[in-house]
């Protein structure tokens, strides 16, 4: 297995772990390293125990991992919770002012008492700079060139003035010096690669938002809810520059109905939310299905039911979003597996929604939404972005329209030529009631059948349109791990580790198009498996249920996780022997 190491900083909420962790991850990326950064926090503003783990390597990383090489403990609680994960030879850096109880000491682990707060205050003037000090110290320990940290400090603090920049730079220097003092006893190194090309560091929320913007999304309405709200904030911060409208609505019901109103008049509209917010949107989802209004809903899952674990992760909403609403109508459910795919689905979802004139749900989760990953600069492929509005009628087409406009014309594909309000030749009413081709309320049985069948006929085209499952690993493998959405990374690494022991042990079949399932490609892929294990982040095997329902196929085993934590490669490998 290729080398990687994990630096974990822990402390209380309010200590600024996430922002300093993200800054450190950026410095490492600039220094030519690959990073996987995962914030772990509680639903509270102060207190408790939060941590941010930064895994680094000289090769691309797709997942975090459990072993910790450097533990930066801003309080004793951090040592208590994480000492079990620190590898032999690893280091525990803690504030010299803290009394570390004897039972927390471990043989073979370097304990480094450093006056983190005192030193930060002495050099920088503020004790809160201890995060920066601790990360710089870690850089010193692993032999990482601090110049990259300094460059991020300069960028991040430039707007606060030179004095703040200088204070932070002094803190970085002090940290690096302290780290170097312990370097000889520390066996792990991860030096910068100065000649590395420019790379990017981002999380799934950023990637999705960027993809949506590139795909022409210009209207975003939402009500804040972890972990979806950063998408609204991302757009709000850039709204003026890109000519987008964002609306922080009074509730999720308003948000989704606003998006439907915007899409009805022709905008590409998005609603980011989480499962609780989506629950409130269900009636409007049906409205979009009935009136054939293309709207994109981004649902970043967290564990439910109800408030559940607000700042944690789960893949527990799949069947809910797939079947939510009374009645039957087509919808897309797309679950990106990586940040690259979050970007791609970000723009594709708008094309799919508009071409099929029906809602598209993008199903992410807390893990994918907030975990930072280093990717190659060209991994976000803006060149392949297209804006395809399907059968949206242009001005000339509307000018030439002779007969009364039929918004819901029954067609072979189920898709009707779509006008938006504003042209004298296409003035019509649309309704959440069942309606005829013109949009007039109609309760006749024949019309009902014609309209239900018209809408559902879209599913045939939709299933052909969405991508089939993707393979990773050797073609012939003893066991195939099936997964969907954000489990991609941890499963991929589990597969690598299995094949590292003996090649041909495992491969992965990953699904990002979940509804409608690309049936032909799915059946063909399943036909190429030997033993199969479904790995998914829920308790009841929701994806497995979908697969069974639509393909009649049964797996040999399953690995589930529903404790609110993301899969790790280690978790999967521990459970795998018991799964089959």
């Amino acid at each position: 297995m290729k080398e990687s190491l994990t630096i974990c900083i822990g402390g209380e909420a309010g200590m600024g772990l996430e922002s300093s962790g993200a800054g450190f991850a950026k410095a490492l990326t600039r220094g030519g390293l690959y990073v996987f950064g995962l914030p772990d926090y509680h639903s509270r503003i102060r207190g408790g125990h939060n941590f941010f783990s930064v895994r680094i390597a000289h090769h691309p990383l797709y997942s975090h991992a459990e072993p910790v090489h450097i533990l930066l403990a801003l309080d004793v609680e951090t040592v208590r919770r994480h000492i079990g994960s620190v590898v032999p030879g690893g280091a525990v850096v803690y504030d010299a002012k803290d009394e570390l109880p004897e039972e927390l000491h471990r043989p073979g682990v370097n304990f480094c008492p450093i006056p983190l707060s005192a030193l930060a205050e002495e050099r920088g003037g503020r004790a809160v700079m201890r995060n920066t000090l601790a990360f710089a110290l870690a850089a010193g320990l692993i032999g990482f060139d601090p110049a990259y940290i300094e460059s991020v400090v300069r960028d991040n603090f430039a707007r606060k003035g030179e004095a703040v920049v200088d204070a932070n730079l002094r803190v970085v220097e002090a940290g690096v010096q302290a780290g170097c003092a312990f370097q000889t006893d520390f066996p792990f190194r991860m030096e910068a690669v100065p000649e590395a090309p420019r790379r990017l560091l981002l999380n799934g929320n950023d990637a999705f938002a960027m993809g949506a913007l590139a795909g022409g999304c210009r209207f975003v309405a939402a009500y804040p809810m972890t972990p979806g709200s950063p998408v609204l904030q991302w757009f709000a911060a850039r709204a003026g520059e890109y000519g987008a409208v964002t609306k922080h609505a009074e509730d999720e019901i308003a948000a989704v109905n606003m998006a439907i109103g915007a899409a009805y008049v022709g905008a590409r509209a998005l609603v980011p939310t989480s499962g609780g917010g989506f629950s409130l949107m269900v009636e409007a989802l049906g409205l979009a299905g009935m009136t054939e209004v293309p709207v994109v809903i981004y649902e970043a899952q967290r564990p439910g039911p109800s408030t559940g674990l607000p700042t944690r992760t789960e893949q527990g909403d799949l069947l809910f979003v797939t079947y939510a609403s009374q009645g039957e109508f087509p919808r897309f459910v797309l679950a990106p597996g990586t940040v690259e795919e979050s970007f791609r689905i970000g723009w594709q979802a708008f094309n799919l929604a508009e071409r099929y004139q029906t809602p598209a749900i993008v199903l992410s989760d807390h893990y994918l939404a907030v975990a930072y990953r280093t990717i190659e600069a060209d991994a976000l492929n803006f060149d392949e972005v297209t804006i395809d509005r399907g059968s949206l009628m242009g001005r000339e087409e509307l000018d030439a329209l002779q007969e009364p406009y039929r918004r819901f014309r029954v067609t072979e594909t189920g898709v009707s030529p779509r006008a938006v309000p504003g042209h004298p030749n296409a003035v019509w009413s649309t309704t959440s009631d069942e309606h005829d081709e013109y949009g007039a309320i109609n309760e006749e049985a024949d019309n009902r059948n014609a309209q239900v069948e018209k809408r559902l006929r879209k599913l045939e085209g939709m299933a052909r349109e969405v991508p089939g499952p993707s393979w990773y690993g050797p073609e012939e493998a003893e066991v195939t791990l099936l997964c969907w959405g954000s489990s991609y990374g941890p499963v991929r690494e589990a597969v690598d580790r299995l094949n590292g022991e003996r090649t041909g042990r495992a491969n992965m079949l990953h699904f990002s198009a979940l509804y409608p399932l690309p049936l032909e490609a799915t059946k063909a892929a399943l036909g190429r498996t030997k033993r199969t294990v479904v790995v998914e982040g829920n308790a009841t095997g929701q994806f497995e249920t979908l697969l069974r329902a639509y393909t009649g196929w049964s797996p040999d085993g399953a690995v589930h996780r529903y404790d609110g934590r993301a899969f790790t490669p280690e978790y999967i490998l521990r459970r795998l022997p018991f799964a089959v």
């Binding site: 987008a244 109905n257 109103g261 008049v265 409205l287 804006i387 309000p421 649309t430 949009g439």
Partner: protein, 290 residues
């Protein structure tokens, strides 16, 4: 020159003979003809209820949405195309029950929307249950002993929420109602128009005779100044032997929400071509994360 014929719909209304909705439909048509607003220049966005079927009985862009939600849909429509006039038409259950929160928020935001509420003080389509504007003690299938709730006061709520145009019409006063709709259309910003609307089937205690005997026009009331918000709020509570109709409050126009959105200064969102990001835009996005 637009005439009433230009607004004639293909469908016949499903309303009961004598329903107040006929008057509202006619008054809307009269106002649009009078203001020369063509069917394609306006969207009438409605909720769910007897009266919310109104756009089906006209020729106009209509979106018959969900119960309680038309103001949210209208907000999105206005933000994405502020070149399109938007009128919301819905009942008292829709606007003051299921959609009460959207009512207050839309009013305080001051989107340029005419919000016409067909206030018959009862649920018609679900057959006669008491509504948010029903008087206390009303006996209905869901309040057989008489309702305990005190009624919502929509005019006072709108004034409190910061609405700058608050009016009440009566479907039995067609020309007056058409005039009010025209004034509401002219008003830059959110305009509440609560319309007393007899339900001849489920609420016979508020029939035409009841209102005809009691309504009086505020503009004919000596000394009433609709620019005085405190007086308007006081007037909003008058209900009994005399029931005021007309413009309760018309404040100095304040900037609409749409006017204040930076992205909309260059024109309606939907009129801008959707194009791929330019190379320098891509580079600026990537620079943030490099």
């Amino acid at each position: 020159m637009l005439t009433r014929k230009d607004f004639a719909g293909r469908e016949r209304p499903t309303w009961c003979t004598g329903c107040g909705n006929f008057g509202i439909l006619n008054a809307i048509t009269l106002a649009l003809v009078e203001r020369q607003i063509a069917p394609h220049e306006i969207a009438i966005i409605t909720g769910i209820g007897c009266g919310s079927k109104l756009p089906h009985y006209m020729k106009v862009n209509g979106f018959h949405t969900l119960h309680g939600r038309p103001l949210a849909v209208a907000t999105g429509a206005r933000l994405a195309n502020h070149g399109l006039r938007v009128m919301v038409v819905h009942g008292d259950g829709d606007g003051y029950g299921e959609g009460l929160s959207h009512f207050l928020h839309t009013a305080r935001r001051n989107l340029n929307i005419v919000d016409l509420v067909q206030d018959n003080r009862v649920y018609g389509l679900t057959r006669g249950q008491y509504s948010p504007t029903s008087e206390s003690g009303k006996r209905t299938p869901t309040s057989p002993e008489g309702s305990i709730d005190r009624p919502v006061n929509p005019l006072a709520l709108a004034i409190s929420a910061g609405a700058t145009f608050v009016a009440r019409g009566y479907s039995g006063e067609l020309q007056h109602l058409a005039w009010l709709i025209g004034e509401a259309l002219d008003h830059p910003g959110y305009a509440l128009l609560d319309v007393l609307q007899p339900c001849v089937t489920f609420n016979r205690s508020y029939a035409y005779e009841y209102y005809n005997e009691r309504v009086y026009k505020l503009e004919e009331e000596p000394g009433y100044d609709p620019a005085d918000r405190t007086a308007a709020w006081e007037k909003a509570w008058e209900w009994g032997e005399r029931i005021p109709i007309g413009i309760f409050y018309r404040g100095e126009p304040i900037p609409t929400y749409e006017e204040q959105v930076p992205a909309l200064r260059a024109g309606p969102l939907v009129e801008r071509p959707l194009e791929r990001l330019r190379a320098e835009q891509v580079e600026s996005l990537l620079a943030e994360i490099a």
